[in-house]
C-alpha cells in the first residue's frame, strides 16, 4: 500500500522531470526558431508519424530506425548501470564502444569462419578486448587508489588515437576516398531482423536478451548483490566479508564487455566496413539512459527508446526546420540534472512518508485496541 503510493510518486516525479526538461527545450526552440510550432511538430510527433495534407499516418520505417538506434545505447546503458551500481564512475564506455567496434570489424574482415558463427565470434572477441582494457582503470583504482574517473576519461582518448593509428597505417583500404577498412566478409554481417532501409538487425533481439541477463545477474546472483551492496555502502560490504576489490574490478570489466559488445554489434549490424573516425558518443548516451532507468536494467530499453525517439525528433527538426539537432544535448543535460536530483519535489515525498507513517500508526493503534478489547 505505502509502497504503491511511493511508486506512483516516483513515476510522477520522473514524468515531471522529463516535462521540465522538455520545457527547457521548448523555451530554447521558441527563442531560436522563426517557426517554433513547425519545429516542435517534427520534434514530438515526427519520429513515428508522417504528416501529409493534414493527415497523420504511422511511419513504420521511421519507427524501425528508432528501434535500430537503440541497439548500441541499450548495451552502453546496461554497462553504465552495472558500473554506477557499484559507484564506479568509469566513463570509458565511450572508448570501449569504439574499441569493440574496431576489433569486431577486424575479425569480420580477416577471419574465415562459416555462416552464423562468424558474427558471434567477432562480437565475442570485440567484447572481450573491451573488457580487458577496462582492467586498466579498475586495477589502478583497486591497487593504487587512482581515481577511475580521471583514468577512464584519459583512456577514451588513448583508445581513440590507437584505433585511428591502426586504422590509418595498417588496415585502411586506400582505394576508397574516405579512411575506412576493407569490406567485411558477407558471413560476418549481422542479418537484418526486418528487411528494408531501417538497419534494424538481430542485434536488437540480442540487446533485449542481454537486458534480461544483466537484470538476472544484478538481482539474482551473489556477484550482482555484491556490486549493488558496494555501491550502497562500501565499508559495510568490506566488514561483512565481501571481496570489495574483486567486485570493483568485476563491475568495470563487465561494463567494458557490454560496451564493447554494443560497439561490435552496431558496426557489424549497420555497416559493411569500419568507418568511425571519432568516439561515437554512445557511451555518454548510455549514462543518460542509465540515469533515466535509475540503474535498473529492466527499465533500460524504455529509457533507450525515449532517448532514441528524442534524438530522431531532433534530427528531423534540424532537417525540416531551422533548429540545429544539437538541441538534444541541452534537453539531455536538463533531464540529467532534474532526473538525478534527489531533492527534486522532495517536499511531496516527505508528505507521503508522513502520511504513510501516520496511517501505519493508526493501524497499529487499531490493532492494539482490538487486542485490548
Amino acid at each position: 500500500m505505502s509502497n504503491r503510493r511511493m511508486l506512483v510518486f516516483n513515476i510522477l516525479r520522473g514524468a515531471a522531470a522529463i516535462f521540465l526538461a522538455l520545457g527547457v527545450g521548448f523555451i530554447f526552440i521558441v527563442l531560436s526558431s522563426d517557426e517554433p510550432l513547425n519545429a516542435l511538430r517534427y520534434l514530438l510527433i515526427g519520429p513515428v508519424f508522417r504528416i501529409r495534407d493534414g493527415v497523420l499516418s504511422f511511419n513504420t520505417t521511421s519507427f524501425q530506425t528508432i528501434l535500430a538506434a537503440m541497439i548500441p545505447t541499450i548495451f552502453t546503458g546496461l554497462a553504465v548501470c552495472v558500473m554506477f551500481s557499484a559507484s564506479q564512475f568509469n566513463l570509458a564506455g565511450e572508448g570501449a564502444v569504439m574499441l569493440g567496434g574496431f576489433v569486431g570489424a577486424l575479425c569480420a574482415i580477416y577471419l574465415n569462419i562459416p555462416g552464423w558463427i562468424h558474427p558471434v565470434v567477432c562480437v565475442l572477441i570485440g567484447a572481450a578486448v573491451s573488457g580487458l582494457i577496462m582492467l586498466i582503470p579498475a586495477l589502478l583504482k583497486v591497487k593504487l587508489g587512482a581515481s577511475e574517473l580521471v583514468t577512464s576519461l584519459m583512456l577514451n582518448y588513448i583508445i581513440m588515437f590507437i584505433v585511428l593509428h591502426f586504422l590509418n597505417y595498417y588496415f585502411a583500404d586506400r582505394s576508397k576516398g574516405a579512411t575506412q577498412t576493407f569490406s567485411f566478409q558477407p558471413t560476418a554481417q549481422i542479418p537484418a531482423l526486418i528487411e528494408g532501409s531501417s538497419k534494424l538487425s538481430w542485434g536488437f533481439i540480442v540487446a533485449l536478451i542481454f537486458v534480461v541477463i544483466v537484470a538476472l545477474f544484478m538481482y539474482r546472483t551473489k556477484w550482482g548483490y555484491a556490486i549493488r551492496m558496494i555501491g550502497i555502502n562500501q565499508p559495510f560490504s568490506k566488514y561483512s566479508g565481501m571481496k570489495v576489490g574483486a567486485t570493483i574490478i568485476l563491475s568495470q570489466v563487465i561494463g567494458g564487455i557490454l560496451s564493447g559488445m554494443g560497439g561490435s554489434i552496431e558496426v557489424l549490424g549497420r555497416y559493411n566496413t569500419y568507418l568511425w573516425r571519432e568516439l561515437p558518443g554512445y557511451g555518454w548516451t548510455g549514462i543518460t539512459i542509465a540515469i533515466l532507468a535509475k540503474n535498473n536494467p529492466i527499465f533500460i530499453p524504455f529509457a533507450a527508446l525515449f532517448i532514441a525517439y528524442l534524438d530522431k525528433g531532433c534530427q528531423l527538426m534540424s532537417t525540416y526546420s531551422d533548429v540545429p539537432s544539437e538541441m538534444i544535448d541541452i534537453i539531455q543535460a536538463a533531464i540529467f540534472l532534474f532526473f538525478a536530483a534527489e531533492q527534486f519535489l522532495a517536499k511531496y515525498r516527505q508528505k507521503i512518508v508522513v502520511k504513510n507513517s501516520r496511517l501505519e500508526m493508526e493501524n497499529n493503534n487499531l490493532s492494539q485496541e482490538g487486542r485490548n478489547a
Binding site: S32, L144, L149, M154, F161, Q332, F344
Partner: protein, 319 residues
C-alpha cells in the same frame, strides 16, 4: 632523427609554446584545486571551458572589447559553477552527474547556443577580428635576454595571469580566513559546521571560484589560443586539468608543475608530429598517456608513504 628531435625541443620557441599551452590547463587545474579543497568534485570544468570560450568571443564581438569578453567568460564560468552547485548541493543531484550535464551543454549545446545567438553553425570564424583578441605583452629588460627572454616575453595578458593566479590562489587558500574555511569544509564538513562555518555557503563560493577560473581558461582558448571558437576546441583540457590537480596533490604549486608537464607533453606532440615518419595519432597519445603514468606514479608514492607511516607506527608501538 634523435638529433633532429633534440634540435627541435632545445629552442626558445619550444619553451614559449610550453608556457602557452600550459596556461589554459593551469587555469582549469587551479579551479579543480579550489573545488577539491572544499570537497567538491568539479568534473564540469571541460564544459565550463567550452561554454565560456563561446561567450568570451560573443561578448567581445558584441562590445568590440576583449576585456569585456574575458569578464563575460568569467561571469559565465561563475554562473555555470553555481549551477552545478545548485543542483548538487540544493537538489542533491550527484555532483559528477551535474558536471557531466554541463559537459553535455559544452559539447553539442554550445553549437546550438551559437546558432541561437548568431545563426552560425560550428565555429565563430567571421566574428573574430584582431582587436577583440587578448593582447600580448612584451616585458621590458627580460625581453632582451637570449632564449629566456624570447620564451617568457610576448605572451598574452591571460598567460601571465594564469601563473600569477597560482600564487594568488595559494595565498587565498593558506593566508585568508576564507581559505581556512574552504580547507576546513573539505577536510571535515561536519566539524566545520560545528564551529559555525556555513558549509553550504563555502561550497558555493569554492565551486563559483572554480567556475571563474575555468571560464578564464575558456576565454584564453577562444580569444587567444585558437583565435575564435569552434566546437571540440577544448579537446579534453578540462579533464587533463583534473588529472593535473590530482597529480599536483591539490596544491597550487604542485598543480602548476604538473600542468607544465602536460604543457610539455602537448608541445612535444606538436613538435614531433612535424617530423618525418612519425604517426601523428601515436604522437597525439602523449599527453593522455603522460596523465595516466603521472597518476600512477603519484598513487604509488602515496601508497608507499602510507605504508611507511604504518610501519613506523607499528615499530613505535612495538618499542
Amino acid at each position: 632523427m634523435f638529433e633532429q628531435f633534440l634540435d627541435t625541443i632545445l629552442k626558445a620557441d619550444f619553451l614559449f609554446s610550453i608556457i602557452r599551452i600550459t596556461a589554459p590547463i593551469l587555469f582549469a587545474a587551479l579551479g579543480a584545486v579550489v573545488a577539491e579543497k572544499a570537497g567538491v568534485v568539479n568534473i564540469g570544468l571541460e564544459g565550463i571551458m567550452s561554454i565560456s570560450a563561446l561567450f568570451g568571443v560573443l561578448f567581445s564581438y558584441w562590445t568590440q572589447s576583449w576585456l569585456v569578453g574575458v569578464l563575460g567568460a568569467l561571469v559565465v564560468g561563475v554562473l555555470l559553477g553555481l549551477l552545478i552547485g545548485f543542483f548538487a548541493l540544493k537538489l542533491k543531484t550527484d555532483i559528477i552527474l551535474a558536471g557531466i550535464a554541463v559537459n553535455m551543454i559544452g559539447g553539442g549545446g554550445t553549437i546550438f547556443l551559437l546558432y541561437m545567438f548568431t545563426g552560425m553553425r560550428g565555429n565563430t570564424g567571421a566574428l573574430v577580428s584582431q582587436n577583440i583578441l587578448i593582447p600580448t605583452i612584451n616585458i621590458p629588460l627580460i625581453k632582451s635576454i637570449p632564449i629566456l627572454g624570447e620564451s617568457i616575453s610576448g605572451h598574452s595578458v591571460l598567460t601571465y595571469l594564469a601563473f600569477i593566479l597560482v600564487f594568488l590562489i595559494a595565498g587565498l587558500l593558506y593566508k585568508t580566513s576564507l581559505g581556512l574555511n574552504i580547507r576546513a569544509v573539505g577536510e571535515n564538513d561536519q566539524a566545520a559546521q560545528s564551529v559555525g562555518i556555513s558549509v553550504l555557503r563555502i561550497k558555493y563560493i569554492a565551486i563559483g571560484i572554480s567556475g571563474a577560473l575555468a571560464g578564464l581558461g575558456g576565454a584564453f582558448m577562444s580569444m587567444y589560443y585558437s583565435q575564435g571558437w569552434n566546437s571540440g576546441m577544448i579537446a579534453g583540457r578540462g579533464f587533463i586539468a583534473l588529472a593535473a590537480q590530482a597529480m599536483g596533490r591539490t596544491e597550487p604549486i604542485g598543480t602548476m608543475l604538473s600542468s607544465l608537464l602536460f604543457g610539455f607533453a602537448q608541445a612535444l606532440r606538436t613538435k614531433v608530429s612535424g617530423l618525418q615518419g612519425v604517426s601523428s595519432y601515436l604522437v597525439s597519445l602523449i599527453p593522455y598517456v603522460f596523465t595516466i603514468v603521472g597518476l600512477v606514479l603519484y598513487a604509488i608514492s602515496t601508497t608507499k608513504k602510507v605504508h611507511k607511516y604504518r610501519q613506523t607506527q607499528a615499530e613505535a608501538v612495538e618499542a
